[in-house]
């Protein structure tokens, strides 16, 4: 009798665990850069750390500076062998390798950042960075006095072009006289070149700078020359305490915790996630006190409209550089058109190298 009682007791104690037991999640990450890049990879790593705080998430493994391409498959495989059951591959160039490894490991969930190929156990994710970029454009348009705004851009790919366009539309929505000058650095990550590109924009009269780079050199250039600057990726204000206005930033933690929960509860399914400000994946960093209260209020109002879905930065009428209508009034660019964007809107000074 005692034994039976004991068995019941043990069963009773185990019961809640058996029924509500959440699957333990062991995440693994592949990074394209070092976690110390102060930009792209740094932002992902912040998200990873936030995810790790969840009770059902085991300590995660990450591997830095993994070269893109076929070689990365070996590294991804290594993560799986170490027991990862939720793998994040955080750069476009890992796409094919991710699909490859996923085929051989159907029990593992893979999430590939910024790609377009999916499988039963592979989903993709990215953020609508153009939303906070548009808002940062409003700030720049209000703060410029010379109506010349500089933009240090990395590579002429749709993601960057979309950012420049959204930014410019934001600028022109409050200041139709302002123009945005673009300089391509053809690198994500070379502080020296970035600094020089930023200086060259200041030399031609820009008084507000924005950038799509992974290092904070543009911020230093603006600080040194007394201009204003808008950051990117993560809040980099310590590099330019006086010049920094705000920054469109990533908040990967919002998505990573959601995904970990879905995998743990078994509700995860393969999809192409493109979250925006509404879901909290992207946002605008806190304003510098130098941004006047009425500008802050205006931006907050627009931010609320974007979150509510009543404002879309790419709704018409939008003209291209030549002055022709690119999006008619009442129409909006579809997600497909946004993802393949390869033209500049009116107000951008510069060319897309072909």
């Amino acid at each position: 009798m005692k034994k039976i009682m004991l068995m019941f007791m043990i069963l009773f104690l185990l019961l809640p665990h058996m029924v509500f037991a959440e699957k333990q999640v062991k995440p693994g990450f592949i990074y394209v850069g070092p976690v110390g890049d102060a930009g792209w990879t740094y932002a992902h790593d912040q998200g990873r750390q936030e995810m790790e705080k969840l009770s059902f998430v085991e300590p995660s493994t990450y591997i830095e500076s993994v070269p893109e391409g076929a070689e990365s498959a070996r590294v991804i495989n290594g993560l799986v062998r170490k027991g990862a059951n939720l793998v994040f591959t955080t750069s476009f160039g890992y796409m094919d390798a991710t699909i490859d490894v996923a085929k051989r490991n159907p029990e593992v969930v893979f999430m590939h950042c910024s790609g377009f190929k999916t499988a039963d156990n592979v989903g993709t994710y990215f953020g609508r960075m153009y939303e906070p970029r548009y808002l940062s454009g409003i700030v720049a348009g209000k703060m410029t006095k010379k109506n010349v705004i500089g933009y240090v851009a990395a590579f002429p790919i749709p993601e960057v072009i979309r950012g420049i366009n959204a930014f410019t539309l934001g600028v022109r929505s409050v200041n139709p006289k302002a123009e945005v000058r673009v300089v391509w650095t053809q690198t994500w990550f070379d502080p020296g070149i970035e600094r020089d590109a930023a200086d060259s924009l200041l030399d031609v009269g820009a008084d507000v700078l924005a950038m799509h780079q992974d290092a904070p050199a543009t911020l230093q250039a603006a600080e040194a020359r007394g201009a204003y600057v808008i950051g990117y990726n993560s809040d980099m204000r310590e590099f330019a305490p006086n010049a920094f206005l705000t920054a469109p930033v990533w908040n990967w933690g919002a998505l990573y915790t959601k995904l970990a929960k879905a995998v743990s509860e078994g509700t995860w399914k393969s999809e192409q996630i493109w979250d925006g400000m509404k879901e909290g994946l992207v946002k605008l960093a806190d304003f510098n006190a130098k941004v006047p209260a009425e500008v802050q209020a205006l931006v907050s109002e627009k931010a609320a409209a974007i979150k509510a879905g009543t404002l879309h930065p790419f709704s018409g009428p939008i003209k291209n550089q030549a002055g022709n209508i690119a999006v008619a009034a009442g129409k909006t660019h579809s997600d497909g058109e946004l993802l393949g964007m390869n033209y500049f809107v009116e107000g951008v000074q510069g060319t897309i190298p072909k």
Binding site: Q186, G192, A197, Q349, T351
Partner: protein
């Protein structure tokens, strides 16, 4: 505009200039050093860390020199004392530099310091066109001017300089004359490496006062190529480094001014220039006009003397 362009040229060219000067000292003594890229990174992180800890830029520059000097002594030990393969040892030094600086630089990311600021030289900085670009710069740039002159004087106006040059041309002859071959080669490699380290420190202390992994961005390799362009002479290294920096600065400014030339083509220019330089210098080699040290890359062992 010309003034602005020249100014950007000098600033973009200076880290490469330091690296090229350091490499020239190495190669004049007959030792190829492909570790330049790694040494620049070591200089950059050491300079930044020391400046951040002490608050003094001078201590930062000294730390950059000393750490690169020590790293260079690994290369010197392998190539001079142990007569190992110079190419392999140099490449290993670069990989070592990239890895070590990434590891030890982790703590430095996101920290800020006050970098070198411009100091105008009274009188000279008022000169038209060249005044601002050359005489309203930071101390490290002035130091690079002095260094160019000092290295030239050392090699062509001193007995030790002659001895070091002989090491590169014919170490056996130098040995016969009583020049301590290994000691001089060792010093040339380590001191040259230290100067390369200052080039790295220029990046993390003056051009962009911060530390970011791999911030040298291939400038060390450009320096390796510029040594050949410069014909192993320090004034021509200055010319080469500024040409390279100038083309980089120019293409960015072309874009900012709103030219319609494709950015891809503009971006190619500095590298196309590097290749062109290598082709021209090799063509000159064929004509027998080479200034390349005769024994460059060959280990010296007294026992092997012919």
């Amino acid at each position: 505009m010309l003034e602005i362009l020249l100014d950007a040229t000098v600033r973009a060219g200076t880290p490469i200039l330091f690296a090229t000067l350091g490499a020239i000292i190495n190669e004049r003594a007959g030792i190829i050093n492909l570790g330049i890229e790694g040494l620049m990174l070591i200089g950059a992180v050491a300079g930044f860390a020391a400046t951040h800890a002490s608050g003094s830029l001078l201590i930062g520059v000294i730390a950059a020199f000393v750490l690169a000097f020590l790293a260079g002594s690994i290369h010197a030990l392998i190539t001079v004392q142990l007569r190992g393969n110079q190419i392999v040892s140099g490449l290993a030094l670069t990989m070592f530099g990239i890895g070590m600086t990434a590891l030890f630089g982790k703590e430095m990311v996101g920290l800020t310091i006050t970098g070198f600021e411009r100091i105008a030289i009274p009188g000279l900085s008022l000169l038209p066109v060249i005044g601002k670009p050359f005489f309203n710069q930071d101390l490290l740039i002035y130091f690079s001017f002095v260094l160019v002159a000092l290295i030239w004087l050392f090699f062509y106006r001193t007995r030790w300089g002659l001895a070091v040059r002989t090491l590169g041309e014919n170490p056996a002859a130098a040995d016969t004359c009583g020049v301590p071959v290994n000691l001089y080669r060792f010093l040339a490699v380590t001191i040259g490496s230290g100067i390369v380290g200052i080039g790295g420190a220029y990046l993390s202390l003056a051009s962009t006062p911060m530390w970011i992994e791999n911030m040298s961005g291939g400038r060390g390799w450009i320096a390796v190529a510029l040594v050949i362009f410069a014909g192993w002479s320090s004034p021509r290294a200055m010319l080469g480094a500024y040409l390279f920096g100038g083309i980089t600065a120019m293409q960015l400014r072309f874009q900012a001014m709103g030219t319609t030339i494709s950015a891809h083509i503009l971006q190619m220019l500095p590298y196309a220039f590097t290749i062109l330089v290598l082709v021209i210098s090799t063509m000159r080699l064929a004509k027998g006009a080479s200034q390349q040290p005769e024994s460059l890359g060959q280990p010296y062992d007294r026992e092997d003397r012919k």
